[in-house]
Symmetry: C2
Subunit: 636 residues, 2 copies
């Protein structure tokens, strides 16, 4: 039997069941016109997936149900598979509120199917991710819990849905997202469903955010499952952006069909585009009649570019921001930011602002102006020296009165304080006002290394409406700069000089770029050290680092250049001082700054924010660390 | 048999197993000296409870295990019950990392007890809160999951721990925190353990944050459980503060002993104080030999004061902040803030700063100075008008160059923009610099109503190192002001004028306090409206509000003054316009501002931050709302 199946890779607008239902009804109409037997929409296609605690609004749940009924009503002569919240108004969730399921609906001819061998006429998610940025267990009652409540095993409830399609009975294995990633769970939903017999087709509806390398991994995992069950598998994912407040995720789509041998026979391309895919699937052969496709790996800088480009475009549109102001220093981060925004929202909607103080070199000022010219962006220079001097003078010359003694005293601004005054003068005094006058917001251009250790000023360069490149390590920022020149613009929009200059905040003469002085972060080493703290699955701590240092395998473990550590830190004392300096900052003021930092556009597996939950508890050193440190320093 | 039991109501320092173990060893020594048979420490007494994702550091887990061994080694002739992370290095959690349990350890004579009828020599948490500020399922594998994995029911695993105490066998029912709050779960841990027989004593070790009214509720729930099982129950909770980044929680202790009739026979007082409580519990009579105590309700403003006082004291100490700067406007929020900090850290460590512009009345300037005098705090006035004028002039007179046309244009600052310029000038230009020079940080004085709708300026009054009163509605701020004068200081430190004046930002002549003009928020109504959006268990939305408005029961539902709605909004059109205005702000710019807001000290059941997860998705109106609106406006 050949089935014509439409893959509704729709853009889901989170929290907007009205808009999503409209999109779905349009796609249903198109699929019907094209003679499809079945259309598949992503997980939570009606409400959206990342909604914070909106799930606690009963009127929102009712609304989702009612829009769901519209979709069911539209299923005449067409099987419509879609995701929605399933509400059992009679039962409670663990929090005592009304019970909600992350549900898979199977509609045909105006009614729901699958209720004859399951407690509800729908299917619910078995494996609910409650790690990384996901909070499924906070909101939804999993099949594992339902089984336990009913005194059954999860396997008892993992049944196929049988329904007539095209005059024949088809057995569908209906799973949701994480159900296909069962490796770390004792319950294997697909295997369990397949064991019940009569499964002709697995359908995985997902709402799976893009992160670098995810699709390559997904293809390995899903391909294996199709092969092992011997049943073809259709994966439908959405596009669009969704966020958790602190972290913004792009959804790439990349819907895929695997035949029973695990080969890819359909792959939605390009990523990040709404599409109604059409596949003819021969169930008799398990999809092997179609020729297998090669699927590209998704872990290069081009994918980062595409995800950020899409994320910037969609996020600015979602919050209604049409105009953007970027403070450009002549350094790499703001240059990459400007080049990204110019592509995403158009150079005519950008205003680039250079804000020199006495510490800014003519070199970087020229580079900033050159960048604006290359990008065809409006440009202005607003110096900050007079204002900074005024602030320091005002504070230092105004008496503070002690009411008890009646005495007066004066505050003193140190050079370090004046560095932060400069940074705040730029962002909070100038950029925020300029952005309002220009009719938009201003950007935060921080990278991930700076963000890790709070090498930034709160209400200064740490601020902005979005930190679009804050999930990129410094070496990725450079790679993106090259990619922008070579592949996106195909000309030198980011001047060579910006790539060659030493990274520097230029907040004092100690950071003079023309003398080769700059940031205290040695990116070729610290990028990789910080990555091990933040981004590794099992996160490294000073104990691990010192252990590897002691064993002479640190560079190999971190993935940085051999010999680098000895060059930077000739002695264990220097190595340890550096390690503790950054560990203290990462766990100390870095946390305080991230609490007040803008949303970050995520591309890695572990962006700061909701995927990197943290408490302001300060740095801790384990006992083994303290002992090893003593040994290395020759103390006892 | 009479048992002498020590309740180790310790201050837990989150993320510091070294310090916590030291505290525990000291208390163990004291308990032994006092002839105790048993000492009980709170949940997660070694590592702390709210640690973000620190649980993903394997070296931290090992460290906690090793400190746990020290406690076990110290249990000669003394039963030591304590909380720690239990690690099964051979098994995986759902996230694929090493498996962790939120575990209850029972140590005596250098070894662990309870392994003969359980998979491990410990007990693990059955019911894991994964709602509000809690993320237990993110980190820990619950007994429910373990049972399912082993093909058992939770009840199979819910067994007492039998151990010899004082020469006799004692059956302990060992549960953790949420296990005692089983009402909304199908598994009832205490009932299940009791059913196994031989239980002489229940012990609930908790790490339960203070929120208003929690203890009264806990006493009702726990008392019922003791009564129903007919077994005495000891509840041990910690003191201290812990945080989730965005939200800071105080822990009140309030450890309690219930006899088998559910009567309280021991109650640790005062709240928020580390103590080693001692009770003699006659197991033969189920604790009924001791006289029952009256326990006060904990829902008045005095409890809010004590929680905030403790929170400010502990939080500033935890982050090493000794000096604090507060911008005082002459309004109620900053006055309450100043009076709170003066008590918590001492007036000598405070610097109060008034920053008038041309819009600030002499009335509020005088009130600000009076407040500083009353509190005996250092005080200074730093006017902002010159700087604000300079910023506006600089921006308006500097040309912006369009690189394509070569043309120049000029930006224009509107009066609304200049309001935000003033607010940022105060906080980001002055307070941040003054705080650095004074050697500390500056506070955010926002209240909960403002925070709900983002009635504040980012990098302006929305900034600071801590928002200590941002979990208080405006009417609670006034109540706290009265409490401070009447009960804490017992004199008028907050001048009467500050309480009487109309709340106003004084950012334009439209907000002139001397003319009775002020904030657009009508607190006697909006406080209660916003509370229904934010704080109700089933959160209200415009659909609910409009429905109640239509039915004439809105004031009753919200709990505000009858007749108020009609006074404020004579027509449905005005009512709806107001409703939508604030709903849009709450879901729109309010979210954007909260993402970058300081940590909030929580006192309510739902502070902003980690207990109120939200996405920047904008406002949504359900279909039923839109229909009802049409009806009320007479549209069709």
């Amino acid at each position: 039997m050949k089935l014509k199946i439409a893959l509704g890779q729709m853009e889901i607008v989170p929290g907007r069941p009205d808009l999503n239902t409209r999109t779905m009804l349009e796609m249903i109409g198109q699929a019907r016109d094209a003679g499809a037997h079945m259309i598949i929409f992503p997980e939570m296609s009606i409400p959206g997936y990342l909604l914070g605690d909106t799930w606690e609004q009963r009127s929102f749940l009712r609304d989702c149900e009612e829009y769901g009924k519209e979709i069911i009503d539209a299923s005449a002569h067409l099987t419509v598979l879609f995701g929605n919240v399933g509400v059992d108004w009679e039962k409670k969730g663990d929090d005592g509120r009304v019970r909600k399921y992350n549900a898979f609906f199977i509609a045909r001819d105006g009614k729901l199917w699958g209720g004859e061998n399951f407690p509800y006429p729908l299917r619910i998610k078995t494996l609910q991710p409650n790690y990384r940025e996901f909070d499924d267990d906070r909101h939804f009652y999993s099949l594992r819990k339902l089984a336990q409540e009913l005194g059954k095993t999860p396997e008892d409830l993992l049944t196929p849905v049988y329904l007539p399609v095209h005059g024949k009975q088809v057995g569908l294995g209906c799973v949701l997202c994480e159900d296909g990633w069962a490796e770390d769970y004792f319950t294997k939903p697909m295997a369990a469903i397949q064991k019940r017999g009569g499964v002709n087709l697995f359908v995985n509806i997902s709402s799976s955010p893009f992160t670098l390398g995810k699709n390559s991994k997904r293809n390995r995992v899903f391909s294996k499952q199709a092969r092992e069950t011997g049943v073809p598998l259709i994966y439908v994912n959405n596009v669009g952006i969704q966020n958790n407040g602190k972290t913004v995720y792009t959804f790439d789509g990349s819907s895929t069909v695997y035949n029973k041998n695990g080969e890819v026979i359909y792959y939605s391309q390009p990523a990040f585009r709404q599409s109604l895919g059409m596949v003819e699937l021969d169930l008799a052969s398990g999809g092997t009649a179609s020729p297998p496709l090669e699927v590209p790996e998704d872990n290069d800088i081009g994918f980062i570019y595409r995800a950020l480009h899409y994320g910037i475009k969609k996020f600015t549109a979602a919050i209604g921001m049409k105009k953007v102001v970027i403070g450009i220093s002549g350094g790499i981060d703001s240059a990459v930011s400007a080049a990204m925004y110019a592509k995403a929202i158009g150079p005519e909607n950008l205003l680039l602002v250079n804000m020199p103080s006495r510490y800014n070199s003519q070199t970087t000022r020229n580079l900033a102006r050159q960048l604006a010219q290359n990008l065809n962006c409006s440009y202005t220079e607003l110096p900050i020296q007079d204002s900074v001097d005024y602030t320091i003078k005002q504070i230092e010359s105004t008496p503070v009165i002690n009411p008890v003694t009646g005495e007066e005293f004066y505050l003193k601004i140190t050079p370090f304080m004046s560095e932060n005054i400069q940074a705040r003068d730029r962002s909070a005094r100038i950029l925020a006002a300029v952005a309002a006058a220009f009719g938009g917001g201003f950007t935060c251009n921080a990278n991930k290394a700076e963000t890790t250790v709070g090498y930034s000023t709160l209400y200064g360069d740490q601020s902005g409406f979005l930190a679009a490149i804050a999930d990129l390590w410094k070496h990725q920022v450079y790679a993106l700069a090259r990619y922008l020149n070579d592949e996106v613009y195909r000309r030198e929009v980011i001047p060579r000089g910006i790539m060659d200059i030493v990274p520097s905040a230029e907040l004092s003469f100690e950071q003079a770029v023309d003398e080769g002085k700059g940031d205290p972060i040695a990116y070729p080493y610290h990028d990789y050290l910080f990555r091990s703290f933040v981004q590794w699955w099992d996160r490294a701590t000073p104990e691990d680092i010192l252990h590897w240092y002691d064993e002479g395998v640190l560079e190999e473990k971190l993935g940085c250049r051999p010999g680098l550590v000895k060059e930077l830190f000739p002695t264990p004392g220097e190595f340890i001082a550096d390690l503790e300096r950054w560990w203290n900052l990462y766990n100390g003021i870095g946390v305080a700054k991230r609490i007040q930092a803008p949303p970050i556009l995520a591309v890695s597996r572990r962006a700061f924010g909701f995927d990197h939950r943290e408490a302001q508890n300060g740095a801790y050193y384990t006992r083994r660390y303290r002992e090893l440190k003593k040994k290395l320093l020759g103390e006892n």
